[in-house]
Symmetry: D2
Amino acid sequence: MSRLGDNSWGKTSVRVSKIHRGDDEHGFSELTVDVQLTGEVEDAYVRGDNARVLPTDTMRNTVYALAQDHLGDDVEGFGRTLAEHFLTRDGINGANVELREHRWQRVDPYGFVGGSSERRTARVVLGADTDATWAGVEGLVVLKTTKSAFRGYPKDEYTTLPETDDRILATTITSWWKYSRVPTDTTATWNRVREVMLERFFGDWSASVQHQGWMIGQAVLEAVPEIAEIEFRLPNQHHIGFDLTRFGMEDRHVVFQPTSEPYGDIRFRIVR
Amino acid sequence: MSRLGDNSWGKTSVRVSKIHRGDDEHGFSELTVDVQLTGEVEDAYVRGDNARVLPTDTMRNTVYALAQDHLGDDVEGFGRTLAEHFLTRDGINGANVELREHRWQRVDPYGFVGGSSERRTARVVLGADTDATWAGVEGLVVLKTTKSAFRGYPKDEYTTLPETDDRILATTITSWWKYSRVPTDTTATWNRVREVMLERFFGDWSASVQHQGWMIGQAVLEAVPEIAEIEFRLPNQHHIGFDLTRFGMEDRHVVFQPTSEPYGDIRFRIVR
Amino acid sequence: MSRLGDNSWGKTSVRVSKIHRGDDEHGFSELTVDVQLTGEVEDAYVRGDNARVLPTDTMRNTVYALAQDHLGDDVEGFGRTLAEHFLTRDGINGANVELREHRWQRVDPYGFVGGSSERRTARVVLGADTDATWAGVEGLVVLKTTKSAFRGYPKDEYTTLPETDDRILATTITSWWKYSRVPTDTTATWNRVREVMLERFFGDWSASVQHQGWMIGQAVLEAVPEIAEIEFRLPNQHHIGFDLTRFGMEDRHVVFQPTSEPYGDIRFRIVR
Amino acid sequence: MSRLGDNSWGKTSVRVSKIHRGDDEHGFSELTVDVQLTGEVEDAYVRGDNARVLPTDTMRNTVYALAQDHLGDDVEGFGRTLAEHFLTRDGINGANVELREHRWQRVDPYGFVGGSSERRTARVVLGADTDATWAGVEGLVVLKTTKSAFRGYPKDEYTTLPETDDRILATTITSWWKYSRVPTDTTATWNRVREVMLERFFGDWSASVQHQGWMIGQAVLEAVPEIAEIEFRLPNQHHIGFDLTRFGMEDRHVVFQPTSEPYGDIRFRIVR
């Protein structure tokens, strides 16, 4: 005869983001939350009786619902709010809430850089008829909480996306540019290109990723005459509004669901 | 003066799965689709005019909508159906559709193994008062298209999950078992445990991941007397029905959206 | 006043492979081993005294040294041999050895497939002047323990690689082929291409990855007349002999060190 | 009749690091380099004749050999030096060198932080008899070019590691600490803990990872009285000196090979 030993259940990798809207600037939080609960659920294992099994889908919904009023700088405090909430559910006697806060660095009242995987890149191609030097950047993660819209696009029978005048715009910049003449100080030039990219990403209002990318690329070509052409790949890393009205709550448009896949994928080149 | 060079836009990593329902068995397909389009969209870059920019969200919806009638063994054929569809949209003059089919291997009329990352594992712990041998498996990917339900769970103000009598159940089995006596032939024993796990996963109807896991664990303990206890971690890797009625279509419940995160996360131990 | 609590040290992700040489066929094992030890090492933390700290580099060496005589099908047995060895070292009072065995499947007396991440791929490109259908495979992991050489290459001041007439050849096949005419049954054609690739990889003796790839590509073009051209990317995933003579041991050339980076990277296209 | 089309060969993911030793501070570079060459190598494919196939192992060696004199801030310049070198080899007519520079940020004359994957973490555990709040950090990547030694360890028949008084010490800090009393301002406390960790990692000379970790943990416990205990996991991410004397060169001990696996793995807890 065997019996159930230690056990728990929960939802792992619930991703939630939140805009802290102020008058002159926005704060921004992004967390990944893991919830594990314990309770009187032996019947679920042995007899298939789910009467005490709070669905992990409900745990997920709860993270978004409580984020609107409770998610802020105090990550431990939000964890406690969640854990205490789950303990009020029938048959739950333990809650383990683990949270990981992404380290966004403010660079603008509404703009942030997530420095993580950034690389300076370079490529030299030599051959019989070729002598090309490219420089680039990859993994430059940027996000702004406003100054981004998307509307006026074509609608067909499969369109469900609502138009918006104000959305989160997040991308990871991969760009390569080709030098017509290699600058004397390649490092200073690289730093200047990066600076222009950030200025324009955070400074300009844009109507789409394409429009945003065009303004960045134009500005780089203006700032650095040695660049002959520039390529971009700009994934649109969606933060999707999470509809809280389903729970009978007011939805203040501050809670979002960051998603990894699928993603919009915009690629283009600008030449002189 | 600069100008737009090569450019394209699209949706990357659209994950779609489909059950091919037959009388005595089900087929199962899982694809990841990347779409890239080209068209007359210079105004989108230069002037922020989106009138020709088919949203990448619409591309995603289209993959699910066309999957119901067109996704089958002929992966190239489904790619062509998608590419031809996008060319009918106004202002689109090129389509590049790339598809990756996951290699599920049938092991049951309704059951599949995705062999990918499977590992046989072992752990030996020796110390002053300790002498323990554990064996295990990780990365054993299994999926069945039926014989799985989830209902009768508690509802609260944050519940949105519908009850179901028939769903896809997919998980990646990680399990460790401790030997009270190490078998003479550890490899034969490991193979036997794996065989019992698959027999029970595919053979039993289950009311939840917990219920499924209990039946597997019980069967392993019965089959191999040398095992003193067994632990499981069973992520619930959701394949979520994609609602096609939004597009004015009949929904035949064969098209699903596999998701990577978040996931249900079930952990337990069974002891004699 | 504070004190040291639970602690351990070790080496994680020691990768070891071994050929089991028989008269008519070879076996092949590949393991990733994690070692964690406990011992009387408080002085190492508090006073920087390493007299009891067995270096993790020595743990690594020990895995290779003991693999020659002790690594076989019985993964738990090899774990025990390692754990018992470490307990004989001065000041060590606990050993935790964890092992992960990769699941190579035999398909030839000297050949194996590691099915893991294999995908069937397809690409359809349509446009004003374009109508192309490509099919392909990615993540097809293959390894053979013999019938591979590399010699006769140019030497310069930076050459250290020894020539060899008999080495392990392992790669992960990525290939794309373009149809001049799409076959009626794309799935049957795909299966045939895969079959030819494996036949030639395991059947032919090769002088290099390039030579091997050429023979595979030639055979595919011969077998499937609808294919106009075929591309390959073949990383050379090195299994490097681990020199056991450093330890005063006989080296029987059966123990290897699989490496992830850097890797040789061979790319080519064959056209009719 | 078929023929060879476009083709190239090379080495991908060659990782190289370099200390730029100055009187009062060190610079530090870390690159991942991909080399692809083209040349007159049709005979290698068709006839297995390797006389023109520069081994990818030689390409790897060349990156390390040329790094000593040529690797600096000018990443494009180092790429050009490599490309031009390969073009001097017999039968090579094209070189494509791609480089990715990791973004280390200086925080000390000899110390750097690689901000990438850093996360602030928190864990709240509630239950019948439990009420615990943990805070932590993960993915905090740190490296110093000096003030680290490892000697005086036990030697046995499998020891090959040389003793050193001066090495690169690199780790990715994962730490969890438990609050006996949750601070009023958890964010300010977290920032203080992180600051103390960096001060001690870069400020202290250490005899081992264990010794380094102890000094960090002690300092955190002293600085923040609300912390009851602290746990660490500190992988030893080796940068191994690359022996240039094999090439008849002087070795100035500035060129290193960063490795991903295996790695030393040190775990401990400090309690009051």
